[in-house]
Amino acid sequence: MLESEWTSRALGRPVIKAFNNIVADSLVHKGLPRGSANRIALPVAGDDSNAKQRVMALIDQIGFDVLDAGPLSDSWRYQPGTPAYCSDPTAQQLPTLLKRANREKAPANRDRAVKMMAKLPADFPPQELVRAARISAGLDSFHVIAPDYPGFGNSDMPDPATYGYTFDKISEVIEAFLKQKSFDRYGLYVQDYGGPVGFRIVGRHPEALEWLIIQNTNAYEVGFTPAWDALRGAMWKNRTPETEKPLSGFLELAGIKSFYLHGAQREELISPDNWNSDFAFMERPNARRVQLDLFYDYRTNVALYPKWQQCLRERQPKTIIFLGTG
């Protein structure tokens, strides 16, 4: 028996079930006049049709479309763990979501969501939960693009003698690529070199940034570990074949492999395809020169750190940071 059926029996009155699948924040802020685009639709269930009609009229009056979702016994279709739960669908979207509800799987979905929410701070923005519900219900989506930089992976590798591999250059290429693909709002997932590339783009277009995921990339002096000494102490001061030499190990199979395995607790979980394909790309003519040019150019990032820090302080994007010591 559903909770609403139990309640009806316990109190000896017909029960109309509504508002169980909308977060309070949406209920307060997202009501709209009838006929508005994107007006949220709420399902209403009950066994007393007169009472249901009155409740439906009332809900329309306060700013929401209404859908008759049948008798109370059907109202499991918008319980926790179903696509219609807290995803703020429109009247067009709601029927499909109700139809897609899976009674057997809903409790497990609900328990997973409860577990996830228990880890969130109390002031976690409720609309982010709605967004998560919408994405998992298939109402919202976003494109993921992960371009290879010039000189990396499957992208072209122009001749370093004339191209000039710098972070400025790479960031301009990626910015132009985003523009060509018509992305003017985006979240950035920046890892390692992605930081200096991404922060440059954000510095030029702070308004475009919606959110950041930062994984092992640096915008602070304190982020330099002793592993950087060969760069900072020698090559950045005076680039010669001698100062390049201590860095060459990073560009060979053992060095590349160590990037993946250093600090890994269970090496067998990391696919050898990673370093094998990296190394195959590194074996191309000029590839090592490109990497050394970028090692050298990395010094220009340090001078930009204060600018990026200021940009982050002012923009305060929603951010997730992963920073490992391994």
């Binding site: 309640t7 109309i16 509504a18 009472a51």
Partner: protein, 93 residues
């Protein structure tokens, strides 16, 4: 119409404000008594009453309380609430 609301949490007070805004008379009650609802009534334009009074003369009674609290509602709460009148409830589960 006259609407009674039991439960003055986020959902109960949101509904109170909406119902008041569109012209309904809203009575609101919780288990702790009307004196604990000053903030809510000021924000929502509703009137705080005792639980025993919230259903009196109401066209619609709205429950915005946890399921487990339903069985501890006072006896006789619905004595003056006719059996053919509607009642709406709201729960997360």
């Amino acid at each position: 119409m006259k609407i009674g609301i039991i439960g003055a949490g986020n959902i109960g007070s949101a509904l109170a404000a909406h119902f008041n805004r569109v012209g309904h008379t809203v009575l609101i009650a919780n288990s702790r008594g009307p004196e604990t609802l000053q903030d809510v009534t000021q924000r929502t334009g509703s009137k705080a009453v005792l639980l025993s009074e919230v259903a009196t003369g109401a066209d619609l009674l709205v429950l915005t309380i946890p399921l487990k609290s339903v069985s501890s509602l006072p006896e006789g709460l619905l004595a003056k609430f006719p059996a053919n009148y509607s009642r709406t409830r709201r729960r997360n589960a």
